[in-house]
């Protein structure tokens, strides 16, 4: 096992923790955070591949991660605005209760 | 325009900042232990006992009548009258204690005293290390000369003194008037 594989294992473990969290928790905020963690795990992969690429490209992985971070920030903002809207609607943020499309 | 108010405000504080160095009259505070603000004449805090002569305890005006002790709302005065060998009550206090931790400066003791023996003091630096013994004043600490009273409350003291001398004169006149028709057999009037 080389260092790249170690990095990939770390990132897949992070991805799976995020996945398990997003699936098993009922709080909307924690589900959103789990999705954030999955995005972060993908970013770890980009950096790991960029770092250990046998034929290095100057900045590709870094650029990828910069865009991913920007999109993740946008996702967090919209997601949490949704959480607040849900809370205003049904006075809690349990995911099971948000089942109606029309309110 | 936006911001002009801020600049005006900054100018004001800068003026005060610089001015406080050049113009001591601007400083609103007094450096207390070195300098003191003169105390207004009618300021009062805790009572003291007036004495007339050089010996503070012997010449107290107080006759231990206990009126003030009875009237004191927070019950901070404790008086025991002096007795001679036969147990006869003398007209002076053996114990006169005021607990100024309890006293509320109401001045009722001064109002009710028929002999002008208790007056309000202006001494306020009374901090003590012990709040029980340190703030329980005995007659030795309470006794202060009439001249001190005249110094701290000049107007009031002048009235009291005028009244006392008038009373003394009247008593002396009555005494001399009584002495002619009949020899003095009665007890003398209470010492003023």
């Amino acid at each position: 096992m080389n260092t790249l594989q170690l990095c990939l294992l770390i990132s897949s473990a992070l991805f799976c923790i995020g996945l398990a969290g997003a699936l098993s928790r009922t709080n909307t905020i924690l589900v959103l955070l789990g999705i954030e963690l999955m995005l972060n795990a993908a970013n770890l992969n980009f950096i790991a591949f960029w770092r250990f690429n046998p034929a290095p490209l100057p900045a590709t992985g870094v650029i990828f991660v910069i865009f991913a971070i920007a999109v993740a920030a946008a996702e967090a903002a919209v997601g949490l605005a949704l959480v607040i809207a849900i809370y205003r609607h049904q006075q809690n943020i349990r995911l099971q209760d948000a089942t109606r499309l029309k309110g | 325009m936006l911001g002009t108010g801020i600049i005006k405000g900054l100018a004001v504080t800068a003026k005060n900042f610089v001015g406080s160095f050049y113009d001591p009259a601007r400083l609103v505070t007094v450096e207390y232990p070195e300098k003191q603000i003169p105390i207004p004449e009618n300021y009062r805090n805790f009572p003291f006992l007036v004495h007339e002569g050089d010996d503070p305890i012997a010449t107290l005006r107080c006759v231990a009548c206990k009126i003030c002790e009875n009237e004191c709302p927070p019950q901070c005065i404790y008086i025991v009258a002096e007795r001679d060998e036969k147990g006869k009550v003398l007209k002076k206090p053996k114990i006169f204690d005021i607990d100024i931790a309890v006293c509320m400066s109401c001045q009722i003791c001064v109002e009710v005293c028929p002999f002008d023996a208790i007056k309000m003091d202006q001494h306020f630096e009374i901090a003590a290390g012990n709040r029980f013994e340190g703030l329980l004043l005995h007659r030795e600490q309470l006794a202060k000369p009439n001249s001190y009273y005249q110094k701290i409350h000049p107007t009031e003291a002048a009235e009291v003194d005028a009244m006392l001398t008038a009373m003394k004169a009247r008593q002396a006149a009555e005494k001399s008037a009584k002495a002619k028709p009949a020899p003095a057999t009665q007890t003398p009037p209470p010492a003023a």
Binding site: - | A14, F17, L27, T29
Partner: protein
């Protein structure tokens, strides 16, 4: 470094020489960690002292601005009657703070309650690492130093939130929420005001930004960013946002002692309180240091013939005058309300900073204009600043006539 003779004097090189002399005693493998530790120790000592005397300076300045003498009584321990203008006040305060009882509410979140003051000082100290204090005096010279500075600074607000949450006190929690709202609002103008500098200097490294503001040899006018139209606006926005980031008056809503007791500090006492106090001043030192670096030429002397004075002294003078200006503002302005605070950020500072970005772009495109065109360049740039300022400012204050007082004169 082949600098001119007068920039290479003994005083200029003294800090570096002392460091080299001390790490000369250690074997080769230990030199790097020892040098880093020395830098940390020197920074802690210098800024600890600066912090101590800044507290005194602030109290003196506020006192004088309110026509009071300020603290002037503390003397020396065994010489009664000495006063020394109160110069020993900080040490008396320190002794008092350290000997006070450390009270933790029973319902508090004990771990977070303990971690918050530690973290807030740690993050504030981390920002010091990238500021260039002098010609060769920078602890860590990293390529993305400006970004590092703001990343570390953003984290302090997290520690303030932890303090407010862990105290289990409603005032603390309101203070923490205000701190969050304030940070979210003012992070944006702070970063946007820095972007033009990064754009025109073409680097994120603080040392290179300082070098970009170097004097023209023999020049008399400082070549600082603040003396350009976009730089002046950027500096003003930076200072306003820095006041908010450092929780200084008039943006000290998280503490707000008149309405929130002491905000997030309510349940802190003794040494932990002192740590928060220290972090506030460290934050102020860091932000003003970065402001001086980005806009006021960092350690550069104003003109070439003044370069015989060591660079770190110039830096100190600039930083201290900015801090004193912040204190002057504190003596003058009232605390804002929370809605006024966010309105000022989103409706005034952010649009202004965005327009300023355009001005900076114009300035960099017209770099080659000279002669009479120079005047045209200045006129256009100034118009690009003044017109939005007046228009947005009028929008902001619309409907607010000068207040009339019915009972006060």
């Amino acid at each position: 470094m082949n600098a001119p003779a007068n920039t290479n004097s003994l005083l200029e090189r003294a800090p570096v020489m002392i460091r080299d002399w001390i790490i000369g005693f250690f074997p080769e493998s230990l030199r790097w960690p020892v040098g880093a530790l020395l830098a940390i120790a020197a920074m802690l000592a210098v800024f600890g002292l600066v912090f101590a005397f800044l507290t005194l300076a602030e109290r003196k300045l506020l006192g004088r601005a309110q026509n009071r003498p300020g603290p002037n009584r503390s003397g020396l321990p065994f010489f009664r009657g000495t006063k020394l203008f109160g110069l020993t006040q900080p040490f008396a305060d320190a002794v008092k703070m350290l000997t006070k009882e450390d009270i933790v509410p029973r319902a508090a979140d004990h771990l977070l309650h303990f971690l918050a003051p530690v973290l807030v000082v740690a993050f504030a100290l981390m920002t010091f690492a990238v500021i260039p204090y002098g010609r060769q005096l920078v602890a860590v010279d990293i390529d993305a130093g400006v970004l590092y500075f703001f990343a570390a600074g953003a984290a302090t607000e997290l520690a303030i939130f932890m303090a407010g949450w862990a105290s289990h006190n409603k005032y603390s929690l309101i203070g923490a929420m205000r701190a969050l709202a304030q940070l979210i609002s003012y992070e944006l103008p702070l970063l946007l005001s820095v972007v033009p500098v990064v754009m025109l200097a073409g680097t994120l490294s603080p040392t290179k930004i300082v070098e970009a503001q170097a004097n023209v040899p023999g020049g008399l006018i400082p070549h600082w960013h603040v003396f350009t139209p976009w730089g002046a606006v950027g500096f003003a926005i930076f200072m306003v946002a820095a006041l908010a980031e450092a929780n200084r008056s008039p943006f000290d809503l998280p503490e707000g002692e008149s309405e929130l007791v002491a905000g997030h500090l309510t349940e802190y006492s003794g040494f932990k309180y002192a740590l928060f106090f220290m972090a506030e001043y460290f934050g102020m030192i860091g932000l003003t240091g970065m402001g001086a670096t980005l806009f006021l030429g960092g350690w550069q002397a104003p003109c070439a013939f003044l370069e015989f004075i060591p660079s770190y002294l110039w830096f100190g003078v600039k930083m201290l005058s900015l801090i004193l200006f912040m204190m002057w503002i504190r003596a003058t302005l009232l605390r804002l309300r929370i809605d006024q605070l966010t309105r000022l950020a989103w409706k005034f500072l952010v649009p202004l900073a965005l327009i300023n970005l355009g001005t900076a772009a114009f300035w960099s495109r017209t770099d080659s204009w000279s002669g009479p065109l120079q005047f045209v360049r200045w006129a256009i740039a100034l118009a690009l600043i003044v017109v939005p300022f007046v228009v947005i400012g009028r929008r902001l204050t619309a409907g607010l006539a000068p207040r009339t007082y019915r009972y006060a004169t």
